[in-house]
């Protein structure tokens, strides 16, 4: 049986602010196995980064306990640090230092000899598409290159447990797709376990073996992307009526055809679920026409993680991100 690389019970963090205590994380339980890519998905302010910083010993939990890579967070934080890699959100390199210098210095702070750190660094720049840039100053790198350097720094000492905090935020789509490939390769070729926080649905969907959805400091759901989407049964139909006054009428028609639950009205849109969008659509349009509702548009889609999030929390992730 594979042992858990991370095991946490009731991890919590409360901040004391001038306006009173703020519970950033309220009791998180985690079990993460070897060679998994696990995603922590949630809107900004959900407690993702705080949880991550607790697991990487950057801040102390106010309650709960955890074991990371075999070491207890509270009793042996230095042991944890030795065995994990961390890629922070905002970047991690000095603008005037070169890639080579940053990699070697970082490796040496983990106890590696200069020779070992240099060898590891050179291997990594090749694996991460940073060839020929050993002597380039980090301020001269593109956003994507700098992020790959951050990942290389997280890996230089050979840790098999890597934490990535919002790794693709701020990157253009090409750089993002490129980084996803590299992260997947970490698991496939280097047998690493990867813990990612993100607020991008596509990222969690495309990259993660398992997703933990966090909202308001608590985990509200966990499972593979498919498992989570299956919770939201059938297709989602979204109607856009021409006049807000007709939304209620449209909803009444929708209710008759929906597979479960009340249709949701938001302004001029009505969302509801059906077993099969393709089959329901002709009848739906006919009935709406019969009642005199004029439609501005209609959309049918398979459930996405946004729908999962909506079902669980009553808000959509896209609204949060806006």
């Amino acid at each position: 049986m594979t042992e858990n690389v991370i095991s946490a019970r009731g991890l919590a963090r409360t901040y004391k602010t001038r306006k009173g205590p703020v519970e950033a994380v309220r009791g998180v339980d985690l079990e993460i196995r070897e060679r998994e890519i696990v995603g922590f998905l949630g809107p900004n302010g959900a407690g993702k980064t705080t949880t991550l910083r607790m697991l990487t010993t950057m801040i102390a939990p106010t309650a709960g306990e955890a074991t990371v890579a075999g070491c207890d967070l509270r009793k042996d934080p230095v042991g944890v640090r030795r065995r994990i890699g961390y890629v922070a959100q905002g970047g991690s390199s000095a603008p005037e230092a070169t890639i080579g210098e940053e990699l070697v210095d970082h490796g040496m702070l983990y106890g590696m000899s200069r020779a070992d750190a240099t060898a590891s660094g050179k291997r990594l720049i090749e694996q991460l598409d940073l060839n020929g840039l050993w002597d380039r100053q980090t301020k001269a790198l593109s956003g994507g290159q700098r992020r790959r350097l951050d990942v290389a720094m997280g890996l230089v000492h050979g840790a098999r447990m890597i934490f990535l905090d919002e790794p693709t935020t701020g990157l253009d789509p090409q750089a993002r797709a490129n980084l996803w490939e590299h992260i997947a390769r970490l698991r496939d070729q280097l047998d690493s376990t990867v813990f990612i926080t993100t607020h991008y649905l596509e990222e969690a969907d495309a990259l993660c073996d398992r997703i933990l959805i966090i909202d308001n400091g608590e985990i509200v759901a966990a499972g593979t992307p498919e498992e989570l989407k299956r919770r939201v049964s059938g297709d989602v139909v979204t109607l856009t009526v021409a006049h807000e006054g007709q939304a209620a009428d449209a909803a009444a028609v929708a209710k008759g055809l929906s597979s479960d639950g009340e249709p949701e009205i938001t302004g001029v849109t009505v969302r509801f679920r059906v077993t099969s969008g393709a089959e329901v659509l002709p009848r739906l349009l006919r009935e709406l026409d019969g009642v005199g509702v004029s439609l501005a548009g209609v959309e049918v889609h398979r459930p996405t993680l946004d729908d999962v999030f909506l079902t669980l929390t009553g808000r959509t992730l896209r609204e949060e991100a806006a």
Partner: protein, 253 residues
Amino acid sequence: MSALRETRIVFNRAMRLSLRNPAWVIIGLTQPVLYLALFGPLLRKMTQVPGFPPGTWWQVFVPGLLIQLGLFGALFVGFGLIAEWRSGVIEQMRVTPASRTALLVGRVLRDVVVLVVQAAVLVLVAVIFGMRVPVGGVLLAFVLVALLGAACSSASYAVALITKSEDALAPLLNTIAVPVMLLSGIMLPMSLAPHWLRTVSEINPFSHIVDGIRALFRGHFSSADSMWGIAVAAIIVLLGITFGARTFQRESA
């Protein structure tokens, strides 16, 4: 011991980056050199004034400039740390198993090295202009300047890490640096001061260090002034480094 190795790694890195960008090192020197060249000559006649401390005007004035160099140079290094914090360098070092104290001391040592080099340049310029002081006195004075620099640099890093904001750090440092400078007898010696002002300046550790260096420049290596100056410097270094190390260890720092 790994903490020493880690300190060496942090020091090497900091020195490398400073050498790559020596602008600040040079700018730090301009203030004292300008004072030496443009203000110093005004003091030549002051030695006749009753109450002026013993020694040539060089031996009274240059120690003050060394303190000014140490104070203003070292107290403002915090801004560099805030820049490192913003670029994520501090977090990146804190996530390694490296000792928190090593992260502080490596940087402080770099500041001390830079300071001593600047002090040497200042003394050299003064010698070229005609200052004559015993070599032993100058070397011991460098030790005092190094200690003072270490104390101010550690304290500056600690405050920088706590405030994490240039807007908060700048006024705080200025509020501290200016009265300290005025009350240490740097430009004009405190022996010229009325009684109440001299009493207030006694509370200021830097005035004791200035007097210590003045004694060393006169060749009095074991006088009360020089001994007291060394003792005070040692005390503030201990306080400064403790403050700095504690802050680097604190979690959200």
